[in-house]
Amino acid sequence: MKAHLSRRYLFSASHRLHSAAMSEEENQSTYGKCNNPYGHGHNYIVEVTVSGPVDEKTGMVCNLIDLDGFMEREVLSRYGHENLNTMEEFAKEVPTTENLCIQIYEIVHRGFRFAHLERVRLEETMMNSFEYAGESLLLR
């Protein structure tokens, strides 16, 4: 039987929203306070949903030891307490939470082998969250 398992993780990072393709005025009017040259930070919550058949031997979609280990190694230690603007993936891309959500999806999609990745949901604050499921539609 196929089930979906979701796990939430916290990391803190800083960023500044600024696009090289825009003028100073345009950046200011588009990003407002988020354009502050010194940057600002968030406590991000990343919610990863994986799916697969429930293994009869373990009763699990995948072992949390594997998922937690992967997320710690590949995502939390990569982004935790970093300035996102200094990272190579954001050298040419604005580190909005949309783009960060896509980056995290790609990391998990590429590297996690123990279950199928359904989607990544990223909360920037308690009020804002973003979801990405690759090219497939979010049906649920």
């Binding site: 796990r7 939430r8 009763g59 979609v61």
Partner: protein, 136 residues
Amino acid sequence: MVYLTRKAEFSASHYYHNPAFTPEENRRVFGKCNNHNGHGHNYTLEVTVKGEVDPRSGFVVDLKQLKEVMHREVLEAMDHRFLNKEVPEFLHQIPTTENLAIAIWQRLVSKLEHAKLHRVRVYETPDLFVDYYGEA
């Protein structure tokens, strides 16, 4: 189609153990969850049903009936219980959150009138939850 979700909470204990595994294998696969004395969680259950809105009542489902079914089929059986020892599904099956979501779906699916069961979501902790949509 409108979706309606009802929440409930229950507290229960469990442990993970597969008799086909060696003791070492059980400890390696299940870690701290293998402690045979059990440990507990405050589970949150979310049951989502779907259906068309009845033009007479304006309801997708009679919430009172849904609440009663959830109480009778799930909470009475599982709240303040040791899942491995007191809930029939888990006498021979590991009470993981995945299996719990499936067992709750199976307990509810035939008991609901009018509305169709869409999803059972079980939170073991606020940071870990399983969704089951009745898929084989």
